[in-house]
Symmetry: D3
Subunit: 247 residues, 6 copies
């Protein structure tokens, strides 16, 4: 699958910094993208907003012969899982590592030593439907972490990293390399790269619209019953709100 044509610009990412994943998801639903929210993937630390381009990593169930093939390290270093390191080294500012652990929320994909590389590469964060080892130490680095869980166990007997930057599933959702991930308290929404720019603009306007409507109902203590779908009344409220704010 050719994913190289679209690279979402940092400017587009910044537009999404204050947008809720729920709003992005609403914009995607309208375009027929109905499965964009990862099930079972939750923030390990609350209050952090994630926006980043996906660098994808795919895990497979472990097997002795697979382990030998993917090691490719120096002599005797059989746990040096090169695909994982390949993925980490590709990360830069605005990028997020997205690891398909086949939904095994109790199985570690890495811990604080390995994931220190996300910090030192200046990347945006980490998303996996597997677990993070010693998650409370990884969240201490400060970047947003979304995972199936946190665990003290080691992953190698169960799963192994296999390939980098191909389309994967994560949390039951398709993630293509370069797709934008939006993470907040409600988890992670995947925004396909080619839609990032237009959805970002639409999402910002939608959030302003709802801010305007909420101010309106709160001031008057009235019901928002007639607001959906948006209509002449809501557009009028929104225009007045923009005027007041602009004034």
């Amino acid at each position: 699958m050719d994913q190289t044509t679209t690279r979402v610009a940092n400017a587009a990412l910044r537009k999404l910094d204050n947008v809720s994943g729920a709003t992005v998801l609403g914009c995607l639903m309208k375009r027929g993208y109905v499965h964009t929210w990862m099930e079972g993937v939750r923030p390990l630390a609350s209050g952090r907003h994630l926006v980043g381009r996906a660098v994808t990593l795919r895990y497979l169930p472990a097997r002795p012969d697979l382990q030998q093939r993917i090691a490719r390290g120096a002599e005797g270093r059989e746990f040096n899982e090169t695909p994982r390191w390949d993925a980490l080294e590709r990360l830069g500012p605005g990028d997020v590592l997205v690891a398909d652990a086949m939904g095994r929320s109790l199985t570690s994909t890495g811990g604080d030593v390995v994931y220190s590389r996300i910090l030192t590469r200046g990347a945006a964060g980490l998303v996996t439907d597997g677990a993070v080892r010693d998650g409370h130490r990884v969240t201490a680095y400060g970047f947003p972490v979304f995972a199936g869980g946190s665990t003290p166990t080691v992953g190698e007997p169960f799963i192994l990293p296999y390939s980098v930057n191909e389309p994967i599933q994560c949390g039951g959702v398709l993630v293509c390399p370069g797709d934008v991930l939006i993470g907040d308290e409600e988890g992670v929404v995947v925004l396909p790269a080619q839609l990032a720019d237009e959805v970002a603009d639409e999402a910002i306007e939608h959030e302003q619209m709802e801010e305007a409507l909420l101010e309106h109902v709160m001031e008057r203590r009235i019901s928002p019953k007639t607001f959906y779908p948006f209509n002449d009344e809501t557009r009028r409220i929104y225009e007045e709100w923009k005027e007041r704010r602009g004034g």
Copy 2:
């Protein structure tokens, strides 16, 4: 089912303000009411105590023909889900919206715009075994929210509100309109309306009893081994405690 005969007075609700759901549940067990705790329904924000009379809302699985029938809105406003608005408009101080979402903890029953109406009606809170959309925005309103989860997804393709103020299930428990809901860190207990007054009194005394017994064992660093079931010894400890407090 005729539920109109009993309306729990606000005074009875206030008596329950400092009572644990666990204590109410214990009182109900003694009366043969064994299933009164909602499974899978948790506080979205901790540290908030809910006491309120149920206004019930029942969801059903979505279907195109059902959607047309329940819209009943103006021309073309097909998402105007009237039963949900009917329920919200019935709320007043001391009331809580209880929504049977058939236990679908990942499916939204509404978000911050819709549930602003709970705030502007001055109602006590929200309980559902479904999800709340963008829950962290709804909890920002300050009222207690108990739900199966928080999600960025929209509910309309999956569930639709169907009827108001009939008996429902929520979290596997029967809720009749007017029943009292007690919510705390451990979730939600349903207190049938006709028992509210007598259970409130009994629960307050039970909590005092346990407070007395706990003070007693803590001071003396002894075991509460002989306290259950309550007996002459525990009554003596309780009487002394009341005397000390009263004196």
Copy 3:
């Protein structure tokens, strides 16, 4: 099973006070102990580190005839569940009550009155794969509590305590009386008594090693890619780190 030969000294427990369960688990994996982490057992309050010797308590499904046999209390006190009290009275400083509730994470094993005894005995904490009744009141005592959940319900109709200080399962893991339990944000790891001393030493060194390596990569903003398995390079980094710290 003869467990009386090894009693882990308090000094050994203290060595584990700053060690992560993940590190202990890693040491145990190397020795062929592969199932040592309790699934589904989580801290009810975060930020508390548990280290303690297990006093075990085994629950069984409730049945009227079983209830009569285990009551052994005075006349009419049929809820006086003696095995539970036997277990609580055996607790002392450095001990932790570990209750096998057959993985029933919604079923209460006890509440704030019963578990006040853990506090007044000066014990280290509580671990169960069942629930704690009114968990937010039990965590208020300050000792670490790890459980399958918190509930307002009562356990007697469903489970009954049956025996004390025999090998049990808890969270799917074997716990022998006297085994050491390590609890932190990621849950509970079981360290067999006879290995406690040697694993404690190894774990401390391993944590220092990783601290040294992490400082190294953070300062230089480099990848820890070549660190596993430990090798000449990592040993050199570690030795330099110890020297600097010692100097």
Copy 4:
């Protein structure tokens, strides 16, 4: 919800006698009816095809006061659950009892004595997302039974029948009174009453089409790769097949 306008004729039911639930579901998908298959509802005896109009029965969680209200029997006959009997007495040839047991696949909705009434009313069968008590005795009556499971337990302590012939959920799917249920090895598909006639015709043609295509590929040992979506080639094959059969 007004369901009385459409009553599916027996002739329309007979058209569906040889049609697979999968084919009906495909026809419904094209019309935007995407959730029509009951999850977790399976045939208790294989090889029986169900086609019938729904008479719906809704269960609620049991509670002592609910039990008193729905008994409405003679003095002391408190287990005479009238709504269940109301539903059974409405059954006639071509009708099927559909019981919403809130997805409790282990909880009995009735056993061989109660469900003998389906046989003596000459009805088409039984569908529930709850369990059937002593299912192997009920299947011995010969009519098709689709359920969440079979159990020796009794349902009264857990669920109670509450209302008849209102819209319900069953297996996560909406069922309106009068809707047509198609049951086979793969479980139950719900066909809305107002679509029954047109879908029946379309389904029969679709099945003939696929029969023609399968004969074609089997004879020639070729791939059906170019058959979907249907096109000029497939129509030609179908027309030839009809001619041969007609000839």
Copy 5:
């Protein structure tokens, strides 16, 4: 727990040979024994009725030190799991092996070589909430097998047999040594030893009663609506039925 006082006679077992587990469960409910049906334990081969006295075997999670302790075999035979053999050697005609595998329905408790001993001891059957290895070979022996599942995997890395003839849980239900197990298509019901005789008699009469009532409604094509709870009418029908049969 002293279970040696009651040994259910073979004559009492024979009385239960034609009784449904559902009927036994109903008799136990009336006596306050509410949890007697094993969840998740199903017949591996259908059409076989099990009645037998429990010889209990308790498994625990595997651990290297536990394995050494329970081996007790000759030199080097570390997989000779003595508690399992102890249990098997205690079996005689009318006995059933009941293995508590902690509900791990995918984990083997033994296969065709080990369980050949049930056949050669002339025992009544096998019940476990774990799995049977190569179940289709074990069912070929002809005795009834009830299990959580059938698997090709080996159990030793996960569970180990630990003790014999103590009270256990199996399928979430208490089983004391000597209790009677009734197994049929709906799974397994546990009948406490001390109640076996009286429940057997009551169950036989109950089944005759229902046979009489069913014949009555089938002949007349009428509703059994007024039959529960049993009353003057049902007793009259029953008496007539007995007379006819006796005559």
Copy 6:
């Protein structure tokens, strides 16, 4: 991963025709291959033994842009899922299609028209952790089918085929192209290609050994207690058995 070096000969497959998956799994455990049994993948029709080389097919979650990319069919034929057809066309005698549906046991991977191609290619069978549409029609073809389930639903809105003959997971187990799949009543075991020959020989001998031991214990009505691990005694019994058979 280079899988082209080993192609398991048909002669090796034939050696496995009478071998149980359990026996193969035992041989693999000894070689450190511990995860080789697919969880949740069951025979849709019983009594059929599968042995075949894997042609792998990987599904991903559906998304509109992915659907466009993988269609690659003629104009307007957007459901022509080429990777699935690519996989089917690679099948020959002795091959089995293994489809990674990400464990979605309710989601269709294909139905009777598509899977007719397995029959007309003369392939050995079908394995998937997804569902088969109208499974009872697919099993009518006669080849062995192992799947997560059978369903009337269509898969396209949820999953799409993406790539062929790369390593996949299926039922939680690694499957590399060319690996041998053994399927029987207990499900599917994966035998890595490079081990197929040696494991086949060992498995046949192991099954003969157990046949000999079982005959021995059955004739003498004795316990197999001392048989594991195999030893001088078992070897003697086996040699005698071979002699008798050979003579």
